[in-house]
Amino acid sequence: MSRDNLIISDNDTDVQVDFPAEDQTSQEDNAHENKRRRKADGKERKKRAIKTGRASSIEDTEEHTQKHNRKRNGSKNHKHDKEKDQAKKYQNNKEEEGEIKRKAAKSKKNLKNEQTKKKEQDSEKSGTKKRSKEKKRKDSAEKDTKEKEKAKKKKKVIETSSEPESSEEENEEEEEEEDVVRPETLTPEELEKLKEAVEDRKKLIQGLRGKPWPMKKKLVTLKESQMFVEKYEGALGKGKGRKFYAYKVMMTKKWLKFKRDFENFKTACIPWEMKIKEIESHFGSSVASYFLFLRWMYGINMILFGLTFGLVMVPEALMGHPYGSLPRKTVPRPEEGSAMDFAVLWDFGVSRFLKGYAQYSVLFYGYYNNQRAIGWLKYRLPLSYFLVGVGTVAYSYMVVIRTMARNANEGGIGDDNSFNFSWKTFTSWDYLIGNPETADNKFASITTSFKEAILEEQESRKDDNIHLTRFLRVLANFLVLCCLAGSGYLIYFVVRRSQKFTLDGLENHSWWERNEVNMVMSLLGMFCPMLFDVISSLENYHPRVALQWQLGRIFALFLGNLYTFIIALMDEINVKREEEKIVRYNITMWEASLYNGTLSENSTAPPITVHPADVPRGPCWETMVGQEFVRLIISDTMTTYITLLIGDFFRAVLVRFLNYCWCWDLEAGFPSYSEFDVSGNVLGLIFNQGMIWMGAFYAPCLPALNVLRLHVSMYLQCWAVMCCNVPQERVFKASGSNNFYMAMLLVILFLSTLPAIYTIVSIPPSFDCGPFSGKNRMFDVIQETLESDFPAWFGKVFSYASNPGLVLPFILLMVLAIYYLQSTSKSYKQANMELKKKLQTQNEENKKKNKKAALKAAMDLEEARKAATQAAQLQAKHKPPSQQYENIEWDHEQRRYHRRDVRHQPTRGSRPPHHQEATGHLPGAPAQPRMHRSSNVPKH
């Protein structure tokens, strides 16, 4: 098949769009008819083979090929590029098959037979040539057919409607099937070809689902191809050395089936898939994106939990010294009485004086022993504790960055703004929306987006009173800053006050005073965003911009609160360390007194064993930090759930039931139902995760706690959304925001690892608790391991590698690499832009060319038609009535042609009917310009 033809068929792909129902039925009919005819064909050929090559039969075949060709030209092919390549291959195959056939025939049939076949092939080839010509000069082809028609005097109605492209393939199939009967006669090369054909078929089967055909056609093609493949594979498998091939084929089949089953299994295994899909179909993709994010977070936390649980908590619990064997693993005597008290457990040891069992368990840093290797495995617990702490952070970085990169890849192409309006029209509807209310909101938001875009385009924005807006914006920002500063100070104040309370002893204070810090933080997190929302109405921003500002402010608020909290914690750490010094001094005194006392009474008795609960101990600031974070997380979770219940559920219940006896419409009016606040929830989730990252080093239980929290909130929020929320009015797109969330997560990750790293690096660990006690710094554990567990040379190499002379150049190299990569990406971007420009100019040029070509072709056609009609008239004058019949027949046919063209013309994407008149194009303009056009438009 010539390239031109291919392109044309490509163009016809576009055409197929239009008359689905009609075409499909006619195609089916055609397919049947074709089959019948082909069978007849085959029989005829065989007969011919037995007879000799008579001229008439040759003509006959020519006639047939002609007809086929024409049909093919007129046919509307569904297939895509791939298919076309395949078709090309098939064409090649076909010729080769022909050769094969010839060779096979040589042995059995006589020479005449071969001649016929050669002629047949020649005629076929000429047919192909004609076919390509035909496209350019349809009129000549028409003449040809007319002559043929006359010569044959056949009264077959020529089909003008379409025929599936597979006709050709089927043809070959038949030919190939003839070969299959005797696979032994094939040479290895031919076998290879055959295998290729089989592979092609397989590819076709695999690509079938990606074709926009109706199911019936796909089924037919699938069955045909499968039959073909089976037949061939059977034939190929018959040979002695081909067992391996057959085996391979069988295995691939099994593998495919397994893969499919596995895929099914995998989708069945994804947790909450159905739940999220249900939400998706009710509220659209933006709400669902929150839940997807939640699920993603859950996955990450599961892994973090697995790391800490498997590598730190379980080994310590199983192999370390049991509870009560060491002072750090025992509840001190003064606290023993209240240790099992639920309130105490609940508070996770609110003060230094009241500590529950939770504090003296694997859940917190202080419980771990500094023994270098524990148990029969010689498990290096302190080392693994340190490495897990580093590993969780490293893993989180890796995952977040990788996800960001993947998201950027997916949506990266969408950053150019050249198709603003088209995207708004073509892609703004969310087909998942299944809820009428959501649909209404979506209608409204689409309308506003259209109106905004139009306004922006016109640039007729009235900027009256710009000074007022400016003033208001400055004022709003000032107010927000005040809010932020106020909330920061409030937190600082509260933390300081709570320290005073703890010094006084907590029993003397109320519940509020004990939990002041967390409550204040949660309340601030709840009410400040509302305040910001009110303030932002001053600014008169575009809603999207306003949303960004809002998000930014909430982010700043959370961050500010978190950092104030950390600074206050630092203060507390310093206080504790002061205290530690005193305790240490006291302990030496205590020990001395202990020994003094015993020595004076009985010098021979073994040293008195003091019950570990009685040993005085330091304040252990690490555990304190861990506790603070745990408390923060718990109170945060509680507030989230309670707001969910009160703000959403009770509000919904009240609105629903009070509406019957209220003076205004509650559902439509003021309280109404609450919306699901995607951005707020996402921010909450992100900050929660930030706290986990910060505190996980000092409280290994945090990831576990977070997994629990996420699990519960998945169910709770799913339920709350479905039961008491209405879809948002301000719908913003899921894909655009995904990476925004990720970016925030990354920032939070960075900011939350900073203080953790700072404390690890710069503050010496407590002397009597935790895995690093007795060391100068926590990271000394690495050095210790290097010195004692690795050969000496390793330590030397490490010390060389870590000296600044090597590290600095390495960092420099990395910076350079980053710079290089960035500049290359910039240049790629530029090249992209250039190419885009080029494409546009080329399109313009091609368009001009096409116009010219179309005009010329139209003229040609017109002339030819005139000539034809003249000839027809002449003939009509001179011919007897018997021949006039044919003339009518031909006229009829020509008319058909016209009709077809008229019908096809607009479908080819060139012009709608009313344009045709205007531009003076004839309805029967040939396909040439179209084929250019189709090659113009870049495919993606």
Binding site: D14, P212, F421, G736, S910, P912
Partner: protein
């Protein structure tokens, strides 16, 4: 094709899996949902067509402004009445499924938007499309001026060969750059 109304044959099921972007569970679910639409008498007839009105009662399609177009596009009925067989229904779900390719999604999207079935999106098609998107109520409809402006803008952007209409390849060109077409062109049962 041997589709019994109550149960899908094993072979057929695997063929459907081969030919669509759906998983086994999804096909079975689709079958269940489809048979729920049938009346009792129809359940025994193989290859039964469900009229469009009944298809549109599905909650997934109910609030879609393009629901009728979707039915027309996927229907293989001779009468162009938008009625669907089970296979048409599977075609629909496959095109709207998660894993369907951008190519097939954009192809069907184009056919859905092509209201007069002439193979191009001309200004009438675009106008109808915009009206569908903005809803039927008067307060959301665009004014005539706005509509004109909008359509000329759309054509300016996506009509690459400047023939006054958007054809399939131009449409696919535009769509393929859109960041959220694939994620929003989805229908899940």
């Amino acid at each position: 094709m041997g589709t019994t109304a109550s149960q899908l044959g094993k072979e057929l099921l695997s063929e459907y899996q081969e030919l669509t972007f759906l998983t086994k569970q999804e096909i079975l679910l689709a079958h269940k949902r489809f048979t729920e639409l049938l009346t009792r008498e129809e359940k025994d007839i193989p290859n039964v067509r469900v009229p469009m009105e009944r298809i549109l009662t599905l909650p997934e399609l109910k609030s879609n402004p393009f629901r009728k177009r979707i039915c027309y596009v996927f229907s293989t009925s001779e009468h162009k009445d938008g009625s669907l067989t089970f296979e048409d229904f599977l075609d629909l779900l496959s095109a709207f499924s998660d894993s369907a390719t951008m190519e097939i999604k954009s192809h069907y999207a184009f056919r859905i938007f092509d209201f007069d079935d002439d193979g191009t999106l001309d200004s009438d098609d675009l106008q109808k499309l915009v009206n569908c998107l903005t809803g039927e109520t008067d307060d959301t409809q665009l004014t005539f001026e706005e509509m004109k402006q909008l359509i000329s803008n759309i054509l300016e952007e996506s009509d690459i060969d400047k023939d006054g209409t958007v054809n399939l390849s131009e449409f696919q060109h535009v769509i393929s750059r859109s960041p959220d077409f694939v994620s929003s062109f989805k229908i899940v049962l």
